[in-house]
Symmetry: C2
Subunit: 238 residues, 2 copies
């Protein structure tokens, strides 16, 4: 075993495409992943789940995973919506939300009157023509448009096939309004750093495990972590 491997004290685990494949039916666990989480926890390694999932509150999402047999709790999950809420409060931003209905409760305590920014997440079926135009109009109507994106993923795999992720819609709004989105979630450095802080492990002693070469592997490496890419989820040889 190499010296760096012996020094590893913490793991960051992506969820979608690593632990389970999502889908309209709730999704299905990936073979061996329930047992893998159990073994990691038994090994004494610190573990944190680091997801860009924004189709549900963490509560709802974790309940689903528990139902599949995963040993996981809300307190172990680092996700974009709570991180975005911190930013909104710090900067007195009042969001117009273009997110999945099931994510809305995460923003319950945030003032949303007279919006001065747009927050976009993986809204899935809420990415209608009307909703995109609405978010665009709010944004273009601002003197200085502020767009906050919960991730910048290109696409992900569900049980019934590939789906466009929030990053594609973020790009549409960026282009239409000539702005650059502020990304909360992977691959933002701050997002990984906050997950590491919550584990109390420095980047040199942590490994990120994910299926996304850019958002999981690249993002973690830029923070000084090592990263492993699994061959499940959206992994492709190219």
């Amino acid at each position: 075993m190499a010296a760096w491997a012996r020094a590893v004290r913490g793991l960051l685990l992506d969820i979608s495409g690593v632990l389970y494949d999502s889908g309209g039916d709730g999704g299905v666990p990936i073979a061996g992943s329930v047992e893998a989480v159990r073994r990691i926890k038994a090994s004494g390694l610190k573990l944190r789940f680091c997801t860009n999932e924004t189709q549900a509150t963490r509560e709802k999402f974790v309940k689903k995973l528990q139902g599949m047999g995963f040993d996981i709790s809300v307190a172990e999950v680092t996700a974009p919506a709570p991180a975005a809420c911190r930013i909104l409060k710090e900067r007195s931003l009042r969001p117009h939300l273009l997110v999945h209905n099931d994510l809305v409760p995460e923003f319950a305590e945030i003032d949303k009157t007279n919006p001065n920014c747009v927050v976009i997440g993986d809204a899935a079926e809420n990415f209608t023509y009307a909703n995109l135009n609405e978010a665009f109009r709010v944004l273009i109507g601002m003197e200085k448009p502020v767009l906050i994106s919960l991730g910048r993923g290109r696409y992900y795999k569900e049980t019934d096939g590939l789906k466009l992720d929030v990053g594609a819609y973020m790009k549409a709004l960026e282009y239409a309004c000539d702005v650059q989105a502020e990304v909360v979630g992977k691959p933002a450095k701050m997002f990984f750093e906050s997950a590491l802080a919550e584990m109390g492990v420095p980047p040199q002693q942590a490994i990120m495990i994910g299926d996304d070469i850019v958002n999981d592997v690249g993002g973690a490496q830029r923070c000084g972590m090592r990263a492993l890419q699994v061959r499940t989820g959206k992994y492709s040889h190219e």
Copy 2:
């Protein structure tokens, strides 16, 4: 009158935002524009309508404008769909179409079986979550994705407000598939050149008149034309 102005022999006129404001109700002519077209034609100047309009066949679009009182015929209109059809035929491309229902007849003679490219236009209400995912899957499934976009406009103004244009959705697909779209329509040089050729007027003797600083004015200038920006349509002081 300046020497260059005396030398002008032809005008290219944008339509949406210049001659009329579009909208769900069919739109309304902009004050003075019906008379302006009549006077240009009476002056002996050559005139060509140069539009990125892709929400209807040229036939249907021209009929609507005639109904508003404009002196315009199908043969006078340069539009992206016929230009795209020429490219599809030349390169034996079979498109998956993500366009407005009313534009589909322009592609009637094109083989659309077993698609090896995606053609995107201003699909408006057809820009559903399902349709965008479908176009994305076709594209990402190709060994070398080919995306042809009928324009690259950011947004346009309808009677009930601003709407995202094809360029925003083009960017979403470009990002998701890591490809660069080939743009047919303004501001593509070939598009202006073909309109000039149809008038038989060299660029130095032509003026483009439009409301879009990038697609009308910038595009025309890069072809060696002069251009005028009107203060109607999506014009904004910024």
